[in-house]
């Protein structure tokens, strides 16, 4: 496991930021951590990086207890709301962080040039960070996280403030890193992006992990179908374990299957529904699987109780 967390707790005074989180992340995973403001996402990352000491529980990074230098040598981090020292230029800043990370001078300058080019910052080397736009700072922040070719990346809202084209570039960059075997841990509020990008997703609420799973797994849970018959079904028509609701006035309906209740599973429930409709004399004109978005799941789970 790249990340292994067991019953992790963190209290800031009386305020509980994390209340018993357990989590494992396998190598090469692009892992998305979701949750409302104050849910504890940043706190979890900071504990994994050894920046913040946990109140209870244990956490391992690359097989080492968090906070050891050997683990930190292989970790790249992009903090949320980072403030890069403004008196630096992109070159000098990458040189500083590279040196603190232990890179020899030659590697630093070669890698810096490579990354600045990759992130679209080439040609602005002389400009102090003071003169950077928000998105430029974000790109430079990402460059410093990738500088020493880490095996694990922790990115706290990496596309915050980046334009759509830049976001696409960053997504491609991250996918490329994952292809090389880098494990990537992302905190984000952009659900569409997480859905596109991540292999696995976890949702935190008030310091507790509510669900984890792959995107297909999580979104299938609320699978539904768009259905149209040749006429409106009678009000008495009802198949156990399913429910029907109108989508619009043209007779299009949504069939929702409660997979937890149905013993035969969602597909079995669908078969039962089709058979029952035929028996009731309804002719099927349209049947299309409707896939729930991550947003649906998120709104159902994470929002309960409002911001913490």
């Amino acid at each position: 496991m790249v990340v292994s967390v067991n019953q992790l707790e963190k209290h800031y005074g009386v305020n509980r930021a994390l209340g018993g989180v357990s989590l494992d992340v396998e190598p090469g995973t692009l892992f998305g951590l979701l949750g409302q403001n104050g849910a504890g996402k940043t706190t979890l990352i900071k504990i994994l990086l050894g920046l913040v000491a946990p109140t209870a529980g244990e956490a391992f990074l690359l097989g080492q207890p968090v906070g050891t230098f050997s683990a930190r040598r292989e970790v790249g981090y992009l903090p949320e709301d980072h403030r890069l020292p403004e008196y630096h230029t992109s070159r000098s800043l990458l040189d500083l962080y590279g040196a603190l990370q232990g890179l020899p001078r030659r590697d630093r300058s070669r890698r810096a040039a490579e990354l600045l080019d990759l992130l679209g910052l080439a040609g602005r080397e002389k400009l102090r960070i003071r003169g950077y736009s928000k998105g430029m700072k974000q790109r430079l922040g990402l460059a410093q996280a990738l500088l020493h070719r880490p095996r694990v990346l922790f990115l706290d809202e990496p596309t915050d403030g980046v334009d759509p084209v830049g976001r696409k570039e960053i997504r491609d960059l991250l996918l490329e890193e994952r292809r090389r075997g880098v494990t990537i841990f992302i905190n984000s509020h952009l659900l569409g992006e997480v859905e596109q990008l991540c292999d696995r997703v976890a949702i935190l609420r008030k310091g507790r992990l509510i669900v984890t799973g792959t995107v297909p797994e999580l979104t299938r849970q609320k699978a539904s179908w768009i259905v149209r018959f040749d006429r409106d079904p009678p009000a008495s028509f009802h198949v156990p374990g399913t429910s029907l609701e109108a989508v619009d006035d043209s007779g299009t309906l949504r069939l929702v299957i409660d997979s937890i209740v149905t013993p035969a599973g969602p597909d079995g429930a669908l078969d039962g529904f089709v058979v029952a409709a035929g028996a009731a004399g309804l002719r099927l004109r349209h049947l299309e699987r409707e896939r729930a978005t991550l947003e649906d799941l998120y709104l159902r789970i994470a929002g309960e109780g409002g911001p913490t």
């Binding site: 244990e58 690359l62 930190r72 981090y77 980072h82 603190l100 020493h148």
Partner: protein, 472 residues
């Protein structure tokens, strides 16, 4: 859970390891950038250049004073000054060594010019008081003339005794001499000091002893006003370093590196210290060059101001770092540091007054020290008067006691200052009004250095501990 098999490194090569020199060099460059960014460096360099330029328009010129200095040499023959250390005794102290004869120059004529490098032809007479004594051999007189203890005003080149007969036998003698300037004559010789090609007169038309002028100039530019301004600016600039570094969003980017946290803080401290050392070095070097070029005096005593000022700044910077770590605020770091400086200064001054009153109390009835420069200008030594009845000396008052108590808890930075002053006074054969105080044994530069370093290390250790322990 504790030992998971590690996944293969995705990029092949083993991860880089930071080394101490690399980390240090990186933090040094970072500090340098931050310092340059404050733009104040250019202002300081400009100020130093301006100072240098202004000083080079100056002129230091000797004034006629040969006759006066021959008279002084003749008069002091009346006392036996063998083995007296001029750095620790004054003319007042040695007044009691009268040997019975009075000497006077009756005629004197410059052979070349009336300048500190000119030779003179002079007639010297000796009269015994009361009337009957013994004759003094010429060679003995020649070896004594112009020497005041370690100091050498004049050297006798030729001497012939002109008087003879019974008067000579009872000690009334006359000599014809040729004298040349001694080693220290120039330092004591009155010089005019003007700036802007005679535009501004700084030492009065009669001038002041060259050594005194050099001393005042060197002190003014280093441990005095010049150094104070430079350190004040340095405190203002460096006060931002740590608060900037520990800002949320910046600190995380540093703490996540695989190096101990204390290194980040300590190297930032050392970086700032080295920068200020460079600036101080420049100022002190400029001062040394200025006095060297203007007065031709190249004694290196003033260079002691560098370690002295740097130790002091190191202490101030450690206070600034500690405050910065605790409050994360530039304004606080600056204010607390300046306040600490003010406390050191006021407590130091009050302690000086207390020590002075102690010395005065111990010396009631003895001759009060007068500086050599003052003696040469004809100031008479006075006796130390006892305090009016019913008045307590300062060191016995509540204020004096409190001042001494507070000072004893502080790092005794006055000692560092006095180290420089004392050296300069020795170099230039002049003593200021604080000389007796400084030579009193109440000051020890060793104690000053040790205490200053100890306080600095303590503040830094506390800062590093807080910095390493606290969640960002």
């Amino acid at each position: 859970m504790s030992s998971q098999p590690e996944p293969a490194a995705p990029h092949g090569a083993p991860p880089a390891r930071p080394t101490l020199p690399r980390t240090f060099a990186a933090m040094l460059r970072d500090t340098w950038r931050e310092f340059l960014d404050a733009k104040v460096l250019y202002l300081l360099l400009l100020a130093i250049a301006l100072l240098f330029g202004t000083a080079l328009t100056g002129r230091i010129e000797p004034q006629p004073a040969g006759r006066q200095y021959l008279d002084i040499a003749a008069r002091t023959l009346a006392a036996d000054l063998e083995g007296v250390d001029l750095a620790s005794e004054t003319l007042g102290d040695v007044a009691g060594r009268f040997n019975g004869a009075i000497y006077a120059i009756t005629t004197a004529e410059p052979l070349t010019s009336d300048l500190p490098d000119g030779r003179w032809k002079a007639t010297l007479t000796r009269t015994f008081v009361p009337v009957v004594g013994v004759a003094e051999p010429s060679e003995e007189l020649a070896s004594r003339f112009g020497r005041i203890a370690d100091g050498e005003l004049w050297r006798v080149e030729e001497i012939t005794e002109t008087g003879s007969g019974w008067a000579r036998e009872i000690g009334s003698q006359t000599w014809e001499m040729t004298v040349a300037p001694g080693r220290d004559l120039r330092l004591l010789w009155p010089h005019r000091f003007s700036l802007f090609r005679d535009g501004v007169e700084l030492a009065g038309t009669k001038g002041a002893p060259l050594g005194l002028e050099v001393l005042i100039l060197q002190k003014l530019l280093t441990t005095g006003l010049g150094g104070t301004i430079l350190l004040l600016v340095s405190v203002a600039v460096t006060a931002a370093f740590v608060p900037n570094m520990v800002r949320k969003g910046t600190l995380e980017l540093l703490l996540v590196r695989p190096i101990p946290r204390w290194q980040l803080l300590l190297f930032k401290y050392v970086g700032a210290l080295l920068l200020v050392a460079g600036l101080l070095g420049l100022l002190i070097l400029a001062t040394w060059l200025i006095t060297g070029i203007l007065a031709g005096i190249w004694t290196p005593g003033v260079l002691l101001a560098l370690p002295s000022l740097l130790l002091f700044f190191g202490l101030l910077l450690s206070v600034s770092v500690l405050t910065g770590v605790i409050t994360r605020s530039v304004i606080s770091a600056m204010l607390v540091t300046v306040a600490y400086w003010a406390v050191l200064f006021i407590a130091g001054q009050m302690n000086n007054v207390a020590v002075e009153s102690r010395i005065r109390e111990a010396n009631v009835g003895k001759m009060r020290p007068v500086s050599i420069a003052d003696s040469l200008r004809g100031k008479q030594p006075r006796r130390e008067e006892p305090l009016k009845p019913g008045r307590k000396p300062f060191y016995q008052t509540a204020v004096g006691r409190t001042a001494e108590a507070i000072y004893s808890l502080l790092p005794h930075t006055e000692d560092l200052d006095n180290l420089v002053d004392r050296q300069l006074m020795r170099d230039y054969a002049v003593a200021g009004p604080f000389r007796a105080l400084m030579e009193s044994g109440e000051f020890s530069w060793r104690r000053g250095i040790v205490l200053t370093l100890l306080h600095t290390a303590t503040f830094l250790a506390i800062a590093c501990t807080i910095f390493a322990r606290r969640d960002p």
